[in-house]
């Protein structure tokens, strides 16, 4: 996370931490493991009141940020989400809110208002910028004044809880995005099992779902840049979240090394283990650094934003998981049980690695950019 927070950011971080500790402590999350939403009623609305959903939204639309760099501000929330293994549709709802704030239209702005006050939204990415060669899984076509959506998206976070779905599919003219109420006829939600017990994922199937043309987010066939930007925002938030979870797992394991004695010595006194902790510390600091750099670059629309996002996702995806598994190993047997809290963070980091592009996907993107076949932004 950022080294230097402004007083506003610091206060915001504090109130976020207090809300998470109060409404979603690990003890409560354990009880909510089988709950359909994974959080208590009122929790997400309370977060929205605090500003979680407003940071990527312009003031004209009722949002507002703290520092002028809304995504940097939001990455602080994402980091604390990771550090607390917090539930709730932070990533997707933020992406949808920022997209709606960038586009005009009465229906879109009305939905944005609801999202700002605590309605959840989910991204159905039938087009995947992090895997440019993968065929689209959602098709969107025009039929007079209407749009017709067909296809499947998975995994979709919080699809079960969302009131709105931002659907990304392919039209004959290119990538297209529409916003649809989840209640529209023809939408089927099938819950998926997931590695993370605090978050909920589903498969969303669209069968001749018809929405009015006012549901366009951007131009028909012209959403490629917008979709790429949304994927960057999501990746930045996932990276920040993973760094928070890495920090929590690492802190827990360092403490364990002091508390646990073997052969009359604390684990922390063995050089073989000290060196592993040092390696983990270097991965952790490096992850902080690249996560912050990516957030700042995307927020500022910098020329190297795409590169930094991919570097963050590739590095944190790989070393976050290594760190978490090393923490498990250093805990010994208790590390592979559900009794210890460590697993919440292992799960968070591991699942984040798979979302919005794996390290392998992002290494390919970095190679594309390095070889000069694509522009870096």
């Amino acid at each position: 996370m950022l080294l230097v927070l402004s007083p506003d950011q610091d206060l915001f971080r504090d109130t976020t931490v207090r809300l998470l500790a109060d409404r979603a402590p690990l003890s409560r999350l354990r009880q909510l493991q089988t709950d359909p939403a994974g959080y208590e009623p009122g929790y997400w609305t309370a977060g929205a009141e605090l500003g979680w959903t407003s940071l990527l939204v312009s003031e004209a639309d009722g949002g507002g940020n703290l520092s002028g760099d809304g995504l940097v501000d939001l990455s602080i929330v994402a980091y604390e989400f990771g550090r607390h293994a917090a539930p709730g549709p932070l990533v997707d709802t933020s992406v949808v809110a920022s997209a709606l704030s960038r586009h005009d239209g009465e229906a879109l702005k009305a939905a944005l208002g609801e999202i700002l006050s605590g309605a959840a939204a989910a991204c159905c990415m039938g087009v995947t910028p992090w895997q440019p060669n993968r065929p689209a899984t959602i098709d969107i076509r025009r039929d007079g004044d209407q749009l017709v959506i067909n296809g499947t998206a998975r995994p979709v976070e919080s699809a079960g809880q969302a009131q709105y779905l931002l659907v990304t599919g392919n039209a004959a003219e290119g990538p297209t995005q529409v916003l649809t109420p989840k209640a529209a006829p023809g939408i089927t939600i099938r819950p998926l099992k997931s590695l993370d017990v605090t978050r909920r994922f589903a498969e969303v199937v669209f069968q001749d779902v018809r929405v009015p043309a006012t549901a366009f987010v951007g131009a028909y066939g012209g959403a490629a840049d917008e979709v790429a930007r949304q994927a960057q925002v999501a990746a930045v938030l996932l990276a920040a979240e993973s760094v928070g979870a890495m920090e929590a797992a690492f802190a827990m394991t360092v403490q364990w090394a002091f508390d646990r004695y073997s052969f009359g010595r604390p684990l922390a006194s063995y050089q073989a283990l000290k060196h592993r902790f040092a390696d983990m510390k270097s991965w952790l600091e490096a992850s902080h650094a690249i996560s912050d750099a990516a957030a700042a670059a995307v927020s500022a629309n910098a020329a190297d934003a795409a590169e930094l996002v991919s570097a963050a996702k590739a590095y944190i995806g790989e070393y976050g998981v290594e760190l978490a598994q090393d923490c498990v190993q250093l805990h010994g047997g208790i590390g592979v049980t559900a009794e210890h809290d460590l697993h919440f963070f292992l799960r968070r980091i591991t699942l984040d690695r798979t979302l919005y592009g794996t390290p392998g996907d992002h290494r390919q993107r970095l190679a594309d950019m390095a070889v000069g076949r694509e522009k870096a932004a």
């Binding site: 080294l3 230097v4 360092v254 090394a257 002091f258 604390p266 922390a268 006194s269 050089q271 000290k274 060196h275 902790f277 040092a278 390696d279 510390k281 270097s282 600091e285 490096a286 902080h288 650094a289 690249i290 912050d292 750099a293 590169e307 930094l308 991919s310 570097a311 590739a314 590095y315 392998g360 992002h362 290494r363 390919q364 993107r365 970095l366 190679a367 594309d368 950019m369 390095a370 070889v371 000069g372």
Partner: protein, 426 residues
């Protein structure tokens, strides 16, 4: 010069534009050997040293030398942000690469921290003009990582000191001018308490400089033998027997290295310049650009590049502001060493069958094999990665220190191996 103290500092962007214009007029493209830092032929190497001195002089005459050095010593008295802007504008251009480390940091940095007014006035302007190249007489044949275990001795003789001993791994000592030298001045107290730092002129009677051939054929590294080298007390840096106070800052500045705000260098220079990344050039030369496995490796190398760059930025911001532990540069050192090793391996892997044998005109692929042979040097120079790991675990995470046989013992009684006599000095 002090009259200018209260002048408002030039805006960074205005400075950048001024620098851009000046660099465009005055600094040409880099030349072969600027970054390799060694020519197989000594005459060529000496010519490159002379050229670097000239480049430094050009910076000085142009009013861009010592951007973060105090004005009192010939610098510009500006901020790290100005230095960074200058380095960015210098991307893809020539710069005095042999003067960055160790001349500007750690040597000049240590002089700024601990030098007397007279020492600073004598040496800092000379360094900024390119007249003085500095080296570090630090490591010894008997101990690499255990720097404070120095056994080179300095004995007071009136207003002089007489130095005897040997130092090693001194880059470029054969063409350098001055060095900082860590020597033992008291053998009857514990290891860290009997050290003193001196300024030593490299070319003088009693100081013999030998060359060490490394695996890649370079002989830039030197070993020095000091026999009754006389140094005036006015060339002592810091107090007598307080050498480890100096030494601790010295090590700090060494770890910060090229990321120091005192260093002028083209941004990206050690990542193969602003042009195509090294691994991409190798893949292109081998016709491997479309191979998915190669592209995965290129992506990994780029990841390490970008992450390493931003890690150093984080450390450069966090340590001076106190947000990160003062020992945090060890994190950068560890990451840098491990990442460089991995990148050597990646380049070697991409080059494949072309890595083991080559012709001089093979392009980027020609030195892949040698770089791979020298791979581990990245985890040694400036303190090994093993020592960094100890520093991180013990100083940053507060874990118990390794047992040692040299604490609270007079240094003369510290075991120094079967071939060393216990006490060699008075």
């Amino acid at each position: 010069m002090s009259a200018e103290m209260n002048e408002p500092i030039e805006d960074v962007e205005a400075f950048r534009l001024r620098a851009r214009a000046w660099i465009g007029e005055n600094m040409g493209p880099p030349q072969r050997g600027d970054l390799v830092r060694y020519y197989p032929d000594d005459a060529e190497e000496l010519a490159a040293v002379t050229r670097d001195r000239g480049l430094q002089r050009r910076l000085y005459d142009g009013g861009f030398a010592g951007i973060c050095f105090p004005r009192a010593y010939g610098g510009l008295g500006l901020t790290p942000a100005h230095q960074r802007a200058f380095n960015e504008e210098l991307a893809g251009r020539e710069f005095p690469s042999r003067l960055t480390v160790p001349t500007f940091t750690p040597c000049a940095a240590v002089l700024l921290d601990f030098g007397t007014e007279e020492q600073k006035l004598r040496h800092i302007p000379a360094i900024l003009r390119g007249d003085e190249i500095w080296c570090q007489l630090l490591s010894e044949p008997g101990g690499g990582s255990d720097v404070a275990g120095a056994t080179t001795s300095a004995v007071q003789d009136g207003d002089h000191w007489v130095i005897n001993g040997s130092k090693v791994w001194t880059s470029g000592a054969w063409w350098g001018d001055y060095a900082l030298c860590l020597a033992r001045t008291n053998w009857h107290v514990s290891k860290h308490q009997g050290l003193t730092v001196f300024i030593v002129k490299l070319h003088q009677p009693g100081l013999e400089i030998g060359r060490i051939e490394r695996l890649d054929g370079s002989t830039e590294s030197c070993q020095e033998f000091l026999t009754d080298v006389r140094v005036p007390d006015s060339d002592r840096v810091g107090d007598v027997n307080e050498g480890w106070v100096v030494g601790t800052r010295w090590m700090f500045h060494e770890r910060v290295g090229h990321n120091s705000p005192l260093v002028t260098m083209a941004a990206g220079a050690f990542r193969g310049g602003s042009g195509e990344p090294y691994v991409v050039r190798i893949a292109r030369e081998g016709g491997q650009l479309d191979d998915p496995r190669t592209r995965d490796l290129i992506g990994e190398a780029r990841t390490l590049d970008l992450v390493g760059r931003h890690l150093l930025r984080r450390l450069a911001l966090g340590v001076p502001s106190g947000k990160l532990s003062e020992h945090s540069p060890a994190v950068g050192r560890l990451f840098g060493g491990i990442a460089a090793v991995r990148q050597s391996t990646i380049a070697f892997e991409i080059a494949g069958g072309a890595a083991g044998t080559w012709a001089e005109d093979d392009g980027a692929t020609a030195d892949v094999g040698m770089r791979f042979l020298m791979r581990q040097a990245a985890c040694m120079g400036g303190g090994t990665t093993e020592i960094s790991r100890n520093v991180i675990a013990e100083r940053m995470l507060g874990m118990p220190r390794e047992p040692s046989m040299d604490r609270n013992v007079a240094f003369r009684d510290v075991p120094r191996g079967p071939r060393q006599t216990a006490t060699t000095e008075a």
